[in-house]
């Protein structure tokens, strides 16, 4: 009878220990920075990129180059690239020095029709992502630039 009492006490202590370990000891800190960093990153990256002036293309902004890229493609830059090619090379340069350097997966798209994008960089995110879409007005419709940052 006494042994039974001891066994019950030990079982209760074990249950309490498992409970404490599960909810208190194995508790990991909430990552408050992650939310701030990823939300700032996607929107700032796209906003800043679209405002940037292209040095070899009459100092036109990326927005202006994208507008031309989706329409007449009449702009030819100093290195003989058209607006689409030049924007793509600037985007590649910028993303290599930032997102690639920080080991972040991303997908950058510029499109009027999402099925056939004018510019596509990076790989599609498989799971969680932070997305930012920026509409750019053009004569016929609206074109969009989209940046997904994975994770």
């Amino acid at each position: 009878m006494e042994i039974l009492g001891l066994a019950i006490v030990i079982v209760l202590i074990l249950v309490a220990t498992i409970f404490v370990v599960r909810f208190l000891v194995l508790k990991s800190p909430t990552d408050y920075r992650k939310g701030f960093v990823s939300s700032e990153l996607a929107s700032n990256m796209l906003n800043t990129f679209l405002k940037t002036a292209a040095k070899d293309c009459s100092q036109l902004t990326i927005t202006e180059l994208l507008q031309d890229c989706s329409q007449a493609r009449s702009i030819t830059c100093d290195n003989e690239d058209d607006s689409c090619k030049h924007t793509e090379s600037i985007a590649k340069n910028v993303f290599t020095q930032t997102l690639d350097k920080w080991n972040m997966q991303y997908e950058f798209l510029a499109y009027t029709d999402p099925k056939s994008p004018l510019i596509k960089l990076g790989k599609p995110c498989r799971a969680e992502k932070r997305s930012k879409i920026f509409p750019i007005p053009i004569t016929t419709a609206t074109m969009y630039t989209k940046l997904d940052i994975c994770g």
């Binding site: 000891v25 508790k27 800190p29 909430t30 408050y32 700032n44 940037t52 002036a53 100092q59």
Partner: protein, 157 residues
């Protein structure tokens, strides 16, 4: 040995085991509390790091403005060059705002350039966070924007 002596021996043994269990429980409880304090300290450091990052992003000393209208996520290059010396001369004032941190701006496009805005580091830190924020670098002379990265490294004891 008398029966009473055996019972006293039993009681002492039971008390001994009881106190051992109490000590083990207390050590376990202290460790749990310590680990919870560490977690809270880490979370607090993260929040302080986010606060410092936001303070820097909206620092009037470097922020762009046009006709007195502030432009978000934009750093004026001319202001930046002057702010470097101002922040060095008034280090104590900026320490209240930015604590132990290292703030630098790197221009990625069109040309590479780097400015160190504030640097006050400590070797005796328990947590370190690096925040990279893309910012537009405005050149008022040409009225054109470049692409830059504001790097904020925060250190906490």
């Amino acid at each position: 040995m008398k029966k009473a002596q055996i019972q006293i021996g039993e009681t002492i043994a039971v008390l001994f085991v009881f106190f051992i269990l109490i000590i083990i429980g207390f050590v376990f409880y202290v460790n749990v509390i310590k680990s919870n304090i560490d977690i809270e300290k880490e979370e607090l450091s993260q929040l302080r790091s986010v606060g410092i990052s936001q303070r820097i992003m909206f620092l009037p000393e470097v922020q762009c403005s046009e006709d007195n209208i502030i432009i978000d996520n934009c750093i004026d290059i001319l202001k930046l060059e002057y702010a470097q010396s101002v922040m060095k001369e008034n280090e104590i004032y900026y320490y209240d705002l930015l604590e132990f941190s290292d703030v630098s701006v790197l221009q990625v496009y069109p040309d590479e350039a780097k400015w160190s805005l504030y640097s006050r580091k400590t070797d005796d830190f328990s947590s370190r966070f690096v925040t990279n924020v893309p910012v537009s670098l405005y050149n008022p002379a040409t009225r054109k924007h470049g692409f830059g990265i504001l790097t904020i490294e925060t250190l906490f004891k």
